[in-house]
Symmetry: C2
Subunit: 253 residues, 2 copies
């Protein structure tokens, strides 16, 4: 019997709470841990995908945590005054507002390096997958700074890439054969799109600003339907993933 | 016949010139490439160590480039206004002064991610070695911000760690057996100390400010002598490494 998303979330929370950081980070450990708040959407997705592929949770957990650390790294740097200049994150002071810009820059760097150390524990393939997504996110943020880029492409880089990597890192950590991976990647891409469109509906920006809320809702529903259809095709127990798709489509925060 | 340090440097230069960056980086490729100036001390050391251990240069080159990219990453972020606030680097505008703070933060992030992608091509062991050094450097920079830390420890983190990793990444990429690695690591640590003390002598700060120039020169000579003594003990052609030790001890810029 696979674990529910909530059980997976609790397992991630515990793992992150007890995650040992590199001793050399010293006082930087505090902003690094502070940055690790969040809903754990990506690591739960990573674990659920791994479990569907027959992976053992304990072995996949470092990959799930790695995905979350990369997500946190990107938020810490994107919030900086020179970038999005966000003093608040999840209703609390962002890392730079709480610890200063210098420590926020270094804490972001440390999160990325720690993420890759974790990913490596699940093998070079997992680390390579995560690096691909990281570079896409960084490029997406640069596009965002420049302005004038296609919104769908921007979102694919800034959000879709790490969503896709969450699924793929879980599958790779679980040892899914390479020839079985492409349809999973297509599923993951739909999920990334779904997440971003719903984000925009909740924030009233992005896709909503471009095509209006009705059209955006339709985009989200279509992405959710395509993701669900993909799931039905896999020769695996994808019930937990189906639950995650439904939750992502229906979320209100 | 092993290649001379100058031949190795030229090979690194060519490799970096032609290094393909991730397509998603887009316009960020420009500040990333701009950041890659430098004397190539670390990659040459990496290649020379690999060659002494019987490694094939073409196979080790990604590891050598990875070390240089991590070095560049650290400089780009350390130069930022929130950290060391250096508008000049090697006589030219630093990356943030040339491209703005936002792009400098993202370019540093991209350099780190690209470095790890390169390191992974030489295997997970090489990537893990590089990540250890990266985390030590980040922690060292945090200690520097705080002030009040032991200078030798600070230098070991900020400079020694990546010097050590340069040698160890080369050896690991060359496939040196784990049981043969510890004395090489001791050699690499001496080299890191030597490099930093000479740096301080040339800049008139750090060790020089703490113990005076005469004492600092003696420290450097002792480190060079210990490094050379280590080299004599290896069952390998270490002539190029001996040349590098002598050049590091005698350098005037």
């Amino acid at each position: 019997m696979p674990q529910t998303p909530e059980q997976l979330r609790q397992a991630v929370e515990l793992y992150l709470d007890e995650l040992p950081l590199h001793a050399a980070l010293g006082t930087l450990a505090e902003p690094v841990r502070y940055a690790l708040g969040g809903k754990r959407v990506r690591p739960v997705l990573c674990l659920a995908a791994a479990e569907a592929a027959g992976g053992e949770l304990a072995r996949v957990m470092p990959a799930a945590a790695a995905v979350e650390l990369v997500h946190s790294f990107s938020l810490v740097h994107d919030d900086l005054p020179a970038l999005d200049d966000d003093a608040l994150r999840r209703g609390l002071p962002s890392v730079w507002a709480a610890y200063g810009e210098a420590s926020a820059i270094l804490a972001g760097d440390a999160l990325l390096a720690e993420a890759l150390r974790l990913a490596l524990r699940c093998g070079g393939e997992v680390a390579a997958e995560l690096l691909e997504a990281t570079l896409e996110m960084i490029g997406g943020q640069q596009q965002d700074l420049e302005g004038g880029h296609d919104l769908a492409e921007l979102h694919r880089h800034k959000t879709g890439a790490l969503f896709c990597a969450s699924v793929m890192c879980g599958l790779k950590a679980a040892g899914l054969a390479p020839e079985l991976q492409p349809p999973w990647r297509a599923f993951a891409a739909e999920l990334g799109l779904l997440f971003q469109v719903v984000d925009d509906i909740l924030d009233g920006d992005g896709f909503v600003a471009e095509v209006g809320e009705t059209q955006a809702r339709q985009l989200a529903e279509e992405a959710a339907a395509r993701a669900s259809a993909r799931l039905d095709e896999f020769d695996a127990d994808t019930s937990v993933l189906a639950e995650i798709v439904a939750a992502l489509a229906a979320r209100t925060s």
